[in-house]
């Protein structure tokens, strides 16, 4: 797709003279680090979705809230759009810069302000890395549960903005379930507190709204997260299957048996081989699919659950079920899974990661559709995913240097997402819409629903200067793209202008 902001489809956006904006910001915030030379801007031209690259007009690296508030105030006065960035590991182009915008980088806000073992909370700045929170909590026997595979690099601010998930979210919830309080700066430079250190707060649940809002409603400046006691023990089973669909059924069977695993992950043959080649995790390279099923909790219960899970998977047709012998082997089993993306990356010059979710019952069917689409497009697809909660990550392998292959990968990706929506699912489970899936939003939502989203945005950012062109498409865009291209044989809203 055209990654550049398109005023015709995304709405009007002012363009200001770069030198003037720079001079203005330097005057208003003398201590603020501002990057403006091309070679300094270059490292910020993309996030984790590296196929999309745009040089921002300016990059700002504030180190205190005063600077952020001043910057927002000046940008608002000048009509300059602001894109917030955490660690830049996002996979949907949420932090993709705008040519006419300032990129506000929050990475210098990297302090853990407080760990309170009695309250079981940690108060942190938004640039703190996800894993650093668990490291700081470890001496107290506590940890922060959501564990995206990118946890050594991604920031907690970015996690809030994307409502990030991880392999243990099946049991312990997503970011939204583990954040108690957020401090935010609005575009108007006001400080607002959402949520509280108690278990609820008066008024609307704006805390829920801010999670997953992709930097569209405000800048997150401080976060209080909930910490959990480390489970006494965790054991992982690895089951091999000679058929992907059988593995898909086994997932439903485990849940139906009343077992709630800490994590329940699936990989197909291509992903297994890639991971094995990279990590040597001891994966069965002949298997068509593996399931990693982790049971955690109190020793006695975990042993009970392991037995039951093993029996369920065998009954579902597993050809082999292995339990990690010790902590080292357990870590190794997970290392293979957590490194699946880079592992697949070694097999192909480029890969494109999808993030659709589906009801668990649809797993076997959607996997089959993906295999057919892969054939049709002549591109390999490796499947790695959070099977327990129906969140698929098909990785499309392609070579961007080959003429037209990126477009082909994008088209295949779009078709996979449409298959997810058709199965009653969603185009994104945890990576967000960003710029990448802006057109697919038209498949998932009707114009009235999109209009409601725009209203929510307008309540916080009436000028539309925070991360414009992301997350929610305009109706004009949907009229031109997306579902409006004949969804289920009908052209919705034939009365809308189509340019």
């Amino acid at each position: 797709m055209n990654i550049h902001y398109d005023a015709r489809l995304d709405g009007d956006l002012p363009r200001r003279d770069k030198a003037e904006v720079l001079a203005d910001l330097q005057r208003a915030a003398p201590g603020l680090t501002l990057l403006h030379r091309e070679e300094d801007l270059r490292p910020f031209e993309c996030d984790g979705l590296s196929a999309y690259r745009i040089l921002p007009m300016l990059v700002a690296l504030p180190q205190d809230l005063e600077q952020v508030a001043t910057l927002l105030g000046r940008c608002r006065a000048l009509g300059v759009p602001v894109v917030t960035r955490g660690a830049g590991t996002g996979l949907s182009g949420g932090a993709l810069p705008l040519e006419q915008g300032v990129l506000l980088v929050m990475s210098r806000f990297d302090r853990i302000l407080e760990v309170d073992p009695d309250a079981r909370t940690a108060r942190v700045q938004p640039g703190v890395r996800n894993l650093a929170i668990s490291e700081a909590a470890a001496p107290f026997g506590l940890y922060y549960a959501p564990d995206p595979s990118s946890q050594i690099a991604c920031s907690i601010g970015g996690n809030v903005a994307e409502n990030a998930g991880g392999v243990h979210c099946l049991k312990y919830g997503l970011t939204v379930h583990n954040v108690m309080r957020v401090e935010m700066l609005t575009l108007e430079g006001e400080r607002v507190t959402l949520g509280s250190e108690a278990l609820d707060a008066p008024g609307f649940d704006l805390l829920a709204l801010i999670n997953g809002s992709e930097g569209m409603l405000g800048v997150v400046t401080e976060i209080t997260v909930k910490l959990l006691p480390k489970p006494e023990t965790a054991k992982v089973l690895m089951a091999s299957f000679d058929d992907v669909e059988k593995a898909g059924h086994a997932v439903g069977d485990i849940i139906a048996a009343g077992i709630v695993p800490g994590g329940l992950e699936m990989m197909d043959n291509l992903a297994i081989r890639a991971a094995e080649d990279f990590i040597r995790a001891g994966y069965p390279v002949e298997a068509e699919a593996i399931l990693l099923c982790e049971l955690d909790g109190v020793e006695a219960d975990v042993d009970e659950d392991c037995d039951r899970a093993r029996r369920v998977m065998e009954a579902a047709g597993a050809i082999d079920v292995r339990q990690a012998r010790d902590e080292a082997e357990r870590a190794l089993f997970w290392a293979g899974r957590k490194n699946a993306f880079p592992a697949v990356g070694r097999m192909s010059p480029d890969y494109y990661c999808m993030d659709g979710t589906i009801p668990r019952r649809a797993l076997p069917r959607v996997l089959k559709t993906i295999a057919e689409l892969s054939e049709e497009f002549g591109l390999r697809v490796a499947n790695v995913f959070h099977a327990g909660d129906g969140n698929m990550h098909p990785l499309i392998l392609f070579d961007a240097n080959r003429e037209g292959e990126l477009e082909k990968a994008e088209e295949l990706g779009g078709r996979i997402l449409e298959a997810c929506v058709d199965a009653g699912g969603s185009i994104t489970g945890e990576h967000g819409v960003g710029r990448e899936k802006i057109n697919q939003m038209c498949v998932q939502f009707q114009p009235d629903e999109l209009t409601t989203f725009h209203r929510v945005k307008a309540a916080f950012d009436p000028e539309g200067l925070l991360n414009p062109g992301k997350n929610i498409p305009t109706l004009a865009r949907c009229a031109e793209f997306g579902a409006m291209h004949v969804h289920r044989g009908q052209l919705p809203h034939p009365d809308l202008p189509r340019f």
């Binding site: 108690a198 997953g212 006691p229 009653g424 939003m441 307008a458």
Partner: protein
């Protein structure tokens, strides 16, 4: 008070509801949305034409393997819970009913959770999707019947606890969980500060505690999980057996503590679990400390402002549950109030959805 009417058939009443809303919006008629009318005491009285959701009822999809159930707003909560129990599943947040007629829509709109809240999560944590009727009567779908979904803003969680002031909740999809295999409830005699210390210490350990309430020198605990861990923990903690019915009585405010004869206002303080209230004339040992201390109940004549200041200083807020309270909810900070007003104005510009229920200006 509405009477239970088990004979109402399952039915999709979207068309009528939509029409009523369209009309109300066109005429600028404020509506008072009513489910089972069991929670009218929670919030300010709404001046408006009554709009009942009770015709719009029925479970539209329940697949136990998915751990997801979708239900129309007017469905009696008891009916939903019975359907889940039949499959060995439950609503983990243990919503209070406050009457036989309680509906699922009212449960979501009120956003109240029971004793398991600190360990399992609140209503909003289990809401996966809603169908929301907007002011034009259209039924909008947010979230869905999947465990994870970050497409668009999370409106399905935003409407939980908004008390119907942002739109009419037509249908909701909820995550459900298997009932625990084993359960045990017990009582331990101990003073409040000792209970606090014990709860803080236990909280750092992976114990299967799923409810903890202290009152009048007794700490009540519930353990749930696998049979091994529940039996082990029960043995280690000692104490006396407690009837499981205690938790329902606590949730439904049927314990003697909530005595309706007592004329002093009933307050709910939502506080950080370990926080102490620093207020002259307030004896914390006279309160009922649920949620391991995060939800404290109090009968008191203290004036609202004094109480609220103390709660705010302690990091929480105070709600008055006595019907007719002028200001049941803690007033919002000016900045927060501004964004609430703007959101309300965007979604309900003519003020037809339960106006004034939360705050006069919403």
């Amino acid at each position: 008070m509405a009477t239970p009417n088990p004979t109402l058939p399952d039915r999709d009443a979207s068309a009528e509801l939509g029409e009523r809303l369209r009309q109300a919006d066109a005429d600028g008629t404020p509506l008072r949305i009513v489910g089972g009318d069991t929670k009218a005491f929670y919030g300010r009285p709404v001046q408006g034409e009554a709009l009942s959701t009770r015709e719009h009822r029925g479970i539209t999809r329940y697949d136990p393997v998915e751990l997801i159930v979708s239900v129309r707003a007017g469905t009696p909560l008891a009916e939903l819970e019975a359907a889940l129990a039949e499959q060995g599943q439950m609503l983990p947040f243990e919503p209070p009913h406050f009457g036989e007629t309680a509906t699922v829509g009212g449960m979501v709109a009120a956003g109240l959770s029971g004793p398991r809240r600190p360990w399992a999560g609140a209503v909003r944590d289990f809401v996966l999707g809603v169908r929301l009727f907007d002011r034009q009567g259209g039924s909008l779908r947010f979230g869905g019947e999947v465990m994870k979904n970050v497409a668009g803003y999370d409106l399905s969680r935003l409407v939980v606890g908004a008390q119907g002031s942002l739109g009419l909740i037509g249908e909701v999809s909820l995550k459900v969980l298997p009932r625990p295999i084993a359960r045990a409830s017990l009582r331990l005699s101990m003073p409040l500060d000792e209970a606090r210390r014990a709860l803080a210490e236990w909280g750092r350990r992976p114990l299967p505690i799923t409810a903890a309430a202290w009152q009048a020198g007794v700490l009540h605990l519930r353990l749930e999980g696998g049979s091994g861990s529940v039996a082990d923990t029960r043995r280690t903690l000692g104490g006396d057996d407690l009837d499981d019915g205690y938790w329902e009585a606590l949730r439904e405010q049927r314990l003697a503590f909530f005595d309706a004869e007592d004329e002093r206002p009933l307050w709910r303080l939502s506080l950080p679990q370990q926080a102490s209230l620093d207020l002259d004339g307030l004896d914390e040992t006279g309160m009922l400390h649920d949620w391991a201390g995060a939800q404290r109940w109090l009968r008191s004549d203290l004036d609202a402002e004094t109480l609220r200041e103390a709660a705010t200083r302690a990091g929480g807020h105070a709600t008055c549950l006595t019907p007719g309270a002028a200001e049941p909810f803690t007033p919002l900070s000016p900045v927060l109030a501004k964004y609430h007003r703007r959101l309300k104005a965007e979604l309900d510009p003519r003020g037809i959805f339960n106006p004034g229920r939360l705050y006069p200006e919403l």
